[in-house]
Symmetry: C4
Subunit: 239 residues, 4 copies
């Protein structure tokens, strides 16, 4: 399965899990040219097909758009690919449970082993620190670079009032991390309510995080997501 089809599977899986709705996008670094990345034209992820996937250079110029509109926030992707040669895939999303953390500065911590990567650190980013009075969208390379710096070496960055951006060494990891970031946020919110002022919450410790992130690739989940996405694609084609 090629990268384009992988991105179709990623987009539809993220929509199916409510991690993105009509907004948000998944990208992958080109496997033939590390100075390029692949991402859909401006279309809702749930509708993406292979024909919608365009190639962009790292300044986020589409190479082959042929007049098709592109995402305003493509700079998120290009600027991170520039700074992070290890990153091969990126998901930008608006998942609902994460925003309240981004807006209160409560740190996400790994409460669930499927979300162990959170233990590598998930910094917050407030676009106001880069520029005041924006519409909160990462509309240019300056803002993208600022966000990429806040991400640093981490697997994800929270964006105040907006959502998060999640990276991985491959597509399935970026997708799996996006889904389990949201689930961890929901569990942590519930744990905070349960714990009240008296009880500590036991999170994964550093050694546990390290032991988990070394191999966690969401393989079994990816197999399921792919199978379901391909079945939906076949159904659409049959209409």
């Amino acid at each position: 399965m090629g990268l384009k089809l992988d991105l179709v599977v990623a987009s539809r899986t993220l929509a199916e899990h409510g991690v993105i709705d009509a907004y948000g996008h998944a990208s992958a670094r080109s496997d033939t040219d590390p100075q390029r990345y692949l991402m859909a034209r401006n279309v809702a992820p749930e509708l993406v097909t292979e024909e919608d996937i365009l190639e962009y250079d790292l300044d986020s110029n589409p190479v082959d758009a042929n007049g098709r509109a592109v995402y305003h926030e493509r700079f998120i992707h290009g600027e991170i690919y520039k700074k992070r040669p290890d990153v091969m895939a990126i998901v930008h999303n608006h998942s609902h449970a994460v925003i309240p953390f981004a807006c209160t500065g409560v740190a996400l911590q790994p409460i669930f082993h499927m979300s162990a990567f959170i233990g590598l650190g998930v910094p917050g980013w407030d676009i106001r620190d880069a520029k005041k009075g924006t519409d909160l969208l990462v509309r240019d390379a300056y803002l993208g670079e600022h966000l990429a710096r806040a991400l640093g070496k981490h697997p994800a960055v929270l964006m105040r009032g907006h959502g998060s951006t999640v990276v991985g060494e491959n597509i399935q990891r970026a997708v799996g991390r996006s889904i389990y970031l949201d689930i961890n946020a929901r569990m942590q919110l519930d744990a905070i309510a349960l714990a009240g002022d008296d009880r500590p919450i036991v999170f994964m410790d550093e050694a546990e995080v390290a032991a988990n992130v070394s191999w966690q690739n969401y393989e079994r989940a990816w197999e399921l997501w792919k199978k379901k996405a391909l079945a939906r694609l076949a159904q659409e084609a049959a209409r």
Copy 2:
């Protein structure tokens, strides 16, 4: 696509998102006569087809009902269209996360950029201030006018014990705002729980709101919603 089909798409999209159930309604000002508006006969939004859409004058008399029953609360629509020439579409809904705000007087604030319009102000309205002992329904022009005054120049008004009414310069904006009003309420509730008594919640500031509402039309979402609603309509027709 004509206004009638747009209203069918709007009704089914709102039901799909749980913003309305069997109740609530979407209307649009006529594009040929600004003294008229279009809205379904008395039927659950999920069942609306183009044939169900009637025309009303601004006193909310149906022009072409031919004996078909109409919504009791049509005065919400007529009275707002009278007072707000800028408004071209209205959604009245009972979305679940919003009612607790309406009943406690906690102000909704824009915590999520897709809901930036909340920063333009979402006043509350208590029907008791207009009339005591009602069943909470806006059953006549007097109550509709009173609600329209509470709405004022704002994009939405909360209705105590009832829901909200959301307006826009076009249908997709009224629909998108209705969906993201509910999502913002859920996120804000979670943020309040997270913040406790100690932490501030960072909402969008005035300049950010202004920068966002100037263009936010929910275009990409509308394209998705339309496609899904039309597919469902085709499926129903094929039965």
Copy 3:
């Protein structure tokens, strides 16, 4: 549409809304003999067809079971029909948001106009007051009668550790009330969180409740639910 089909629609609608799962049951007083009621044999509501509907006398003996198993808790229905000649339909359910109220003694109050009937009073019942050491099921006429007394003249009664029983003057009212009882509980829980210790929650007042319950029959909703349930039945028949 006959009563049997109405009960099929009721059962499937309640399951669709998550108000009952494999458990819970809906009944209706016979329209030919007020000393009889109709209810399914022992089967999950989501699977009920007209052929599953049996007739019971008010002591909850099935008249025509022909060896088919019946619900252990049928006495809930028979004993209420005995005491309440005005009641024509009953739903017993385990809806999730209601149980926490039943177990803490926090009174449900009408926060939403679709749930105005709550303002008529929803008492709580603890089976321990009737008998200690039960499995919480209403397995005999003694327990059923005790519950019916706790219900009194009200539209619903909460059952500690178990769920609720909801009554109405017709099936659609018993179904609608069951659905909106759960929704009101969820909204009230959220309002309590929002209000904290400082803010009052504004519920519907007595006059508002009276004005609403006088006519609320969930007609538009019932039309939708019927249409959807019949479509599912047709689909099953076509398999």
Copy 4:
């Protein structure tokens, strides 16, 4: 219906209820050899078919894998079957509402009669007490045996940062308990919020628990789940 098909029904039912996602697994002790158990190869539960079910000895060696990959955490199953001759079925899951309890040490208590088995005691287990610095997975017999000891004679054990493992005298009981463990956790969390510092929560008492668990087999639910799972299997086969 044979055990293999029962496990297919169990796997798909657990996925349908959100109790497991791509992870988690259900097993059954062989009905011909109590020193063996049946469980799927390494595949997402939602995809399991009868062909995927393998046989394992109680040291968790697959007998007939023919090169197919097996679950890393199969030792959970083998070690419990060794220690608990009464146990005929086991579900390991990651259900979301349960983790916050596992991480805060708040004891799950039976708030709902469908979840009465919780009153038999649901101990917590922290893998750190067995070994530090793991990835939280039960990857060997040592960890499995340690977990089995924490489970003791109880119906379920919570696993910190991970989920839970639930046992039963038959498959439907292990499945039903897994589903109602999650539901009970959600209800208990809501009850804790409602009760605040002032009100007690009334849980089932010991006698009530004993009266309930003596017979609760989730029979009516199992009939429903089986019917739905078989319908989905037939649909897949028809593609």
